[in-house]
Each structure stands twice: as structure tokens, then as C-alpha cells.
Symmetry: C2
Subunit: 533 residues, 2 copies
């Protein structure tokens, strides 16, 4: 595998932490870097923290290779060129390269210079991690999830350096480390939602948070109101918790944008007697819709009046692409009392961390002295917290300590990480949308302002057939029906822009081929669907 | 905090990896080490892997401090004495100490030499991790769980070195990494139970494994048969999965040893129509009983005939104290078809890792073409695997990648780690039992041959009162009723020997005090119990 070479100027820019104009894996710019030479002081030349310059340089290059900003197989600049670009001595570069070679991050081959590699070898990027018939050339668009963000490896290293503090305790932690809860509470506070650490329960991912909340607040056979389409796993998780999902259709469409019908939502809540409603107000999965502030207040108000608890899933809230953080509407939980918020690190940072959270409300609606769900006193937030903790404890006994420490580090580096993340996602979204316009002009596709998904309207209800036609072409897709409460949506398809630009172009090429097949044939019965995330 | 000093000979023995005769935290032997001077070659003098000797020495000392074998606050040997004991140059020791000081593992104070510390400061050892009214002097015997084993920090460091391989994939892994499943399968195979990696599902702990299995195999309202007493969280988890636990009493007693009544078990299985039974045949929690081979075969046979699935919880199987691994009875799943085995890293290694597993059977009993639990075809192991995976996916979407890699490392180092673990546990068990004989002669206490618990029979049914009396004395206990299916057992108490010898002595002293209070008073109604693990 050879991903080409990388110029000394680009390496210098990356080492200095300058956005390289290319955060995407596999697309490090060739030739001269931004502006030709790096402007800010090169950390290799001005070592921090008492490290020798060569060691600091080695650490930075290791991180760049480790998290894919310098792709595996890339030829690094020669030991003659790099010192000039970095403004350091040749010895510094030579020794740094030696450290990288010792650590398995650099292979020196006669004639091809020093090539980036990973100790143990790289897994096929973008290939599915869970077992599916597949190879490296398969493009998996069933997952609306990204590779690890830049900075993930550093977060793990920093977390490991403080892990010894915790080795003397048994390590069961169903509530969450104080520092992790404080970091999550601080992230909420930064979004204008004052939050105490005691309002946070750390879980093994956002889905586990939903499972615990559903277990705590619903009784078998009760209804749960949710959007349709919605997050596929939420349907499964709430059903597994013995609740009966009732879908409220999203309104609008790809042309005018998707949105919520608050009136129908309110009527459904009232009629169903559901103790719970599950919502994704922030870049709704799969439509990408963002709920306006006015509707948020209305919905919270309605729920309080009928005595239902709203669960706001904020999985994608950290991924606005056309808005700044400051322009985001206030969190649903900031619009009234009693809202439970769930979220996690999986979509914004990395799915491999598996840390999520439940934010409990600080106050409950005055109308709700008794819960309609269990008959138990829910008049106090403390009783609610006990119920949620108990339910969580019956699913798993705690979140791994190290992953919690990693979460603290990721949240601390959030602004910088998200800048790069969003930049890459914007580019990938734009590539996907323009390729779809050209390659599949008969489709109507949403133009999301955040999140990672495009929701496509097909002119014929053959999404399942399309999925089947695409598989032998090396393209894995999730048909619209997967996201529908109660089935249907055979004329819908979710396309995440979570893989690199080149792969998105190739994906649309294969999609066009598959569409030509599928749109000519009538689909047979759909089989039991595989899992998605 | 000062834990005393440690001799150069002891440090040399620890650095060389010689069992020091004291794996217990806080009880590193003072004075000369075992045999006066270490026999095997000191790794500091014969560096491996191309590391300079000073760096290898620093790494080893860091691990010893990090995992508590050199307790925080211990004064290390002087830079004059240690070189002699290690057979290395003074420069090597001086430079190694400098590396440790830079990393925050050593504080050099005028007059008190070089003192072990942890970067960021240590948490109170043995204090509860989850929020409870407590301080460092509180002894928490509600948790039957140990601090991290020696070797845990190394396992994390090795795992982190291969993490970059995985950063390019989304990281959702509901099945388990191939290498982790292979390592777990290999561990089963080493115990005489041939296992393919495909039979393993990796979960976020053994309790999550139970939750997934219960969700997959039981329907709301159905019975589940289990021992009473049993693991407290299993009662909660199975109840939360909407099953109704039916207890089969353990027979025998502290004097003659505890055991199983297979006939009653069989009759209860038949009568209840339970699709599931949950068992802990290997150092049953809380009695410590070990099921004889003959009974294993009988139980598996009975379950197959009535069409119930046995779930064997092997949480403590790696902790025999008076038997060798070879002397252990065959696993329950080796005694016939259709047994589901669950286990994890929490008890043997560390609860903070949160990795568990489900081992699915390779064959099902011929009698079971249809499951009595769901009506679904369970004729194939493949269908069973799909059901379990689906249920697991509805609880959480996967196990953290790094923790899975840590598990591979821990299992690879298992033999060495368990040698030290078991040695410490044997000493702690013996101290607890002898202290109980002297301090509370009116009690009858089990003498477990493995696991971490002593099960005590009190001469009066006042266990809840005893727990209340102990708390203000700084001793947290779990009353027998916590482990009883359907309540009762007020004359029983579980005492884990999971804290160091000195603390066990102090615990029994406080226990005696509390007993004097409790045995004189009649207990009021018990409140809602707090969580245990």
C-alpha cells in the first residue's frame, strides 16, 4: 500500500498544528503546504514540557500517523528536506525518525525513503468492523459513524498516564467518575444549560443510556412516541425494553426540508398515554432536520401537561456544519422542566470509546407528582435519579475507568477536534450531494445543515431491492424501512457521508449501477434486517 | 502518607519478577528480601528489547508503583544501595530515578529520600468508588471485588501500542474483536472445553452478558430458576428483564460445606416451566461452594430433558485457592449440550476493565427443536447466536476497542497474574477466617476453597441491624438478605476477603463491636437496599 508522499512544508504545518486544509484521511495534500512554509513557531524547534526537541517531534509525528492525518503508506520527507521546513537541526529529524522506526511507525526501505506504518499493521480503513462478508474494497454506508477523530490517540495516552490513580479501587463505577461527570456537566453548561455533576450518569454509550432510561421509566406494553423515520437502534432498544413504539411522521421533504409536526406529536402523546417520548431535535437521524427553538418550547410544554417524559437524543448535536455553536438553538432540556437528555462520544469523537451519558433534569414539571409510568413517586429528581441508576445497574455495572478518563480528555480538546471534524464532514457532504445530483438526478436528497446523513427520496419504492443490488457491487446500504416505525419507507434511503471523498464518489458510481438494476425489478419479500448503528 | 521503606533486596526481587512472598498491597516486606539477595538475572542489568538499562529499570519500577506492589508513600532504597542489589551501575539507578521523578512517580524530599507517588495523586485505596458517605478509613466489604491485579498497567500500555490499528474504523463492535474472541476461546480450550471464536460474544462485563442472555431467551413473566442465596445483581438483572426468579436453596452449611440439591433443582425446573436457569457452579457467590463433576452432568442432563437453558456464571472460576487449575472440575458446558457460559475480567483481573463474554454452546440438545421460551426455532446454534447478538445490540452497541485489547493482554499474562492473585487471596482468606474464629467465635463461617467470599451464619437473625450498626464504625457490609431470592436470610452475612490483611483485621474488630450492638437489639424494617457488586 502506498498513499503517495507528503511534502516537508505540509508535514511542518501538521506538526505545528495548523489546519492543513485537509483533515480527510487519505487525502493529505501533495506538493507545497498552505502558504508554502509554516508561519507559527514549530514546536519541534521550541520544545515544551522539558522534552528534547527530537522526542517532541517524534511524538507529534506518531500522533499524526496514529490517527491517520498522515496516512499509512505515505512517504515522509527526507532527513535533508524536513529540517529546513521545520527550522530544526538535521540531527533532530534523524533521531526523531529513529524513535519512530523503533516504535514501528516508520519503515525505511532502500529507494523509497521513510514510509509511515502502524505497529501491527493497519486494518482496512472504512471496512466494517463487525463480521460481514466484505473486503477492503467494500464501502460500508450502513454505519452513520466516523473513524476516530484526530486527537483520539493523544486522549488515550493522557488518560493512561493518570490511570494508576484508580488501580487500587475495585473499578465498578455505575454512576461515573466525578471528573467525567464534571466534564460532561461543563459541556452542557457551555451550551447554556446549567448542569451539576450530580445530574449526570455515565453509561457505556448513548444506546445504553436509552436502554436504562426506558427500563427506568416505562412498563411493559406501554407506548413510546417517537419520530418516524428515526434512529433504527432506538426502535429496537425501546421494543426490547417491552415498550410499543408509536411513530409521528416527520413532515416536509427533501425539497423544502424536513421538520416536526408539533400538533400531531401533542395529539399522539395525549391519545397514547405514553409515559415516554424519544426525540432527536439536533440533526435528526436520518433526515438531518434541526428543530426550531419555538417548537422545542411547545413540545416540552405539551409533554409536561400530559405527564410524559421527553428523552432528547443529542448524539449529533456536536456536528453542526453550517452554523456555529453559538447559532445552535438551546438544548431541548433548556426549554422547560423534566427533559432527560442522552448523548455520547460515538458520533462526534469515536465509536470505539463507548461512553455515553444521561443528563437528568434539575427540576420536574409541577404537574407531575406521580409518574404515569410506574406509579412511583417521581416528584423528586432524586427519586428519578435512583430509578435510572437502578435500571442502569441491571444492564451493566459500570463504564470502564480508562474510557471515562479518555472522555475527559476528548471534551477538553473538543473545540479543536470539532473544527477539524466539521471541516472534513462539510467537504464530504458537499461531495456526496454534488455526486448525487449528477449521478442520480431523478432522486430528491435532503441538504442537511449538520450531522452525517443525507436522506434520499427515490422515485420508486424499491429501497430493499437497491440494497440487494448494491451488495455484490461492494456497497453496503441501509434501506429506508430500517428507520421506519412500523415498516414502510421503501422509497427512502439513508446515505451517511462518513467515508472519504474518493470513496463517496465511488459509492455514488456503484449506487447508480445498483439503481439501474433495482429500478427495473420488483423486489421480493425483505429478509430479517441485519444490525445497523 | 508514608507506607514505610522497602529494602534494596526486595526491590531487586520485585524488579526481577520474583514472587516477593507478599503480593498484598500495603504489606511489602521490610528488611531483607526473600533469601537475602535475588537469584535470577536482574533485568535492569540485562536489558531486553534494545532499551537502555536505566529506561528498562524505570519502566519496571513504574509498573510496580503503578499497580501498588510498591505502595504509594514507600521510601525507595538510596541511589547508593540499589545498584549493589541489582548489580547495575550507580548511573543506571540515578537516571532511572530521574525518569520516574519526571513522570511523577517519585518525589525526592530532603531527609526522606525518594518516595513513591502517583502522577495526579492516589485515590484512597479500598475506598468505595461509587458515591457513598465514606472516607479513606472506611472499609467497604459490600464489594466482592479486588483492586487491579499486578500487570494491569502493562496490559493497558501494550494494548495502547496497538490501538492505532483500529482508529480508522467506526469502532462499533457488538460481537467482539476477532483477536479478543480468539483469546477467550483459547482460555476455554485450555480448560478442556473446545471452543471456536465464533462461539464467543464479547460484552461490557459479565452482568451485561447475563442481561443479554436473559433478554434473548426469556419472555416477560416467565420463571428463571436460580440458587438461593445467589449473586445479588443476578436477581436484579433477571427481574429487570421481566423474569420471575425462583430460588432453589443451597444445602449443607458452614460446618459441613455448602452444596447443591440436584433433585430439588430438577423438580423446580420441571414444575416452573422456566426456560432458563442461572447457576454459579464454580465458587458460588456467596457460599464459595464448588459443584462436583457428577452433579454437573446430572444438572445438564435434567435441563436438556425439560428444555431449559442453563446459564453458568463463571465469574470466579479463575480463583481456586486450594486446587490447581488441573484439579478443577470440567466446566458445566463440557458436561453436555446447550449450556450458555458467561464470565468476565472483573473478579480475576479488574472491575475497571468491564469486559465480559458469552460462550454459546457448539451443539444443542436434540430434544430442543423448538425453544420453550420464545417459540422461535432454536434448533440451530446459529439462530441462538443471532438472538443473543440482537438482544445485546439492544442494550449497548459494543465493547470499547481498547478494553478488548487489554483483555487479550490480561489473558496472555493470566498464569503469572493468577499466581500472585491467588497467593494474596489465600493469605487474606486465612487471616479473615482466623480473625473470625477468635473475634466472633459464636458465628459459623464457611471455609471456601476458592473465590473471594466467606458466608457467615449468625446465631441471631439480625444481619440488617448488624449492617446498620457497622456503618458508623466505618465498616460497610452486605446483609444476607441481599443474596436471597425472595428475601429472608437475616441470619446470614457475606464477607469478602478482598482487602488487605491489616484492613481485614480491623474489619473484624469493628464487626465484633457492631455485633455486640446488633445482637442486643431487635431490627426495624429494612430500607430499600443500596447496590452491591
Amino acid at each position: 500500500m502506498n498513499a503517495g508522499s507528503i511534502s516537508a512544508a505540509t508535514v511542518a504545518a501538521l506538526v505545528a498544528g495548523v489546519p492543513s486544509g485537509s483533515g480527510a484521511r487519505g487525502s493529505v495534500p501533495r506538493g507545497s503546504g498552505p502558504g508554502g512554509t509554516p508561519q507559527p513557531p514549530v514546536p519541534g524547534a521550541t520544545p515544551r514540557s522539558g522534552q528534547p526537541a527530537y522526542r517532541e517531534l517524534a511524538i507529534r509525528l506518531r500522533h499524526l500517523i496514529g490517527d491517520g492525518r498522515i496516512p499509512v503508506g505515505t512517504r515522509l520527507p527526507s532527513e535533508r528536506d524536513l529540517p529546513v521546513a521545520l527550522g530544526v537541526s538535521r540531527t533532530t529529524v534523524t533521531r526523531a525518525y529513529a524513535v519512530l522506526r523503533d516504535g514501528g511507525y516508520l519503515a525505511s526501505r532502500r529507494g523509497s525513503g521513510s514510509v509511515a506504518q502502524l505497529p501491527g499493521g493497519a486494518l482496512p480503513a472504512h471496512g466494517p468492523l463487525i463480521a460481514r462478508p466484505s473486503d477492503a474494497s467494500t464501502i460500508d454506508l450502513t454505519y452513520a459513524a466516523l473513524p476516530a477523530s484526530a486527537g483520539t490517540l493523544q486522549a488515550y495516552e493522557r488518560a493512561l498516564s493518570v490511570l494508576p490513580r484508580y488501580l487500587a479501587v475495585p473499578g465498578y463505577d455505575p454512576v461515573g467518575l466525578p471528573e467525567t461527570r464534571a466534564a460532561i456537566a461543563g459541556w452542557f453548561a457551555g451550551r447554556g444549560l446549567a448542569t451539576e455533576a450530580d445530574q449526570i450518569v455515565v453509561t457505556t454509550g448513548a444506546n445504553a443510556a436509552l436502554a436504562a432510561a426506558a427500563q427506568a421509566l416505562g412498563r411493559p406494553g406501554q407506548r413510546v412516541v417517537m419520530e418516524t423515520p428515526t434512529y433504527a437502534n432506538a426502535i429496537h432498544t425501546l421494543t426490547a425494553a417491552r415498550l410499543r413504539p408509536t411513530g409521528v411522521p416527520m413532515i416536509g421533504g427533501a425539497d423544502v426540508g424536513y421538520g416536526w409536526d408539533v400538533e400531531t406529536f401533542a395529539a399522539t402523546l395525549r391519545r397514547s398515554g405514553a409515559p415516554l417520548a424519544y426525540l432527536m431535535p439536533d440533526f435528526h437521524n436520518p433526515t438531518g432536520a434541526l428543530m426550531p427553538a419555538g417548537q422545542r418550547a411547545e413540545l416540552v410544554d405539551v409533554a409536561a401537561r400530559v405527564g410524559a417524559t421527553l428523552i432528547a437524543d443529542e448524539t449529533f448535536v456536536d456536528l453542526p456544519l453550517d452554523l456555529t455553536d453559538a447559532e445552535m438553538p438551546a438544548p431541548l432540556a433548556a426549554c422547560g422542566d423534566g427533559v432527560i437528555t442522552i448523548g455520547g462520544t460515538s458520533k462526534a469523537f469515536w465509536g470505539g470509546v463507548r461512553v455515553g451519558w444521561i443528563r437528568l433534569p434539575s427540576t420536574l414539571p409541577t404537574s407531575r407528582a406521580k409518574s404515569s409510568s410506574t406509579g412511583a413517586e417521581l416528584g423528586s429528581v432524586r427519586a428519578l435519579r435512583d430509578q435510572v441508576l437502578y435500571a442502569r445497574h441491571c444492564l451493566d455495572l459500570g463504564t470502564p475507568i480508562l474510557e471515562q478518563l479518555v472522555t475527559v480528555e476528548l471534551l477538553a480538546a473538543r473545540v479543536e477536534i470539532m473544527r477539524e471534524r466539521r471541516e472534513a464532514l462539510r467537504r464530504q457532504r458537499d461531495v456526496l450531494l454534488s455526486e448525487l445530483r449528477v449521478g442520480l438526478p431523478e432522486w430528491a436528497c435532503s441538504a442537511p445543515t449538520g450531522g452525517v446523513n443525507v436522506w434520499c427520496e427515490l422515485p420508486r419504492p424499491v429501497a430493499s431491492g437497491l440494497v440487494r443490488a448494491a451488495q455484490p457491487l461492494g456497497l453496503l446500504l441501509a434501506a429506508g424501512g430500517r428507520f421506519a416505525v412500523g415498516g414502510g419507507m421503501e422509497s427512502r434511503l439513508r446515505l451517511p457521508y462518513t467515508v472519504g471523498e474518493d470513496r463517496l464518489r465511488e459509492a455514488v458510481r456503484r449506487l447508480r449501477q445498483a439503481w439501474d438494476v433495482a429500478s427495473e425489478t420488483t423486489p421480493p419479500e425483505t429478509p430479517w434486517p441485519p444490525l445497523v448503528a
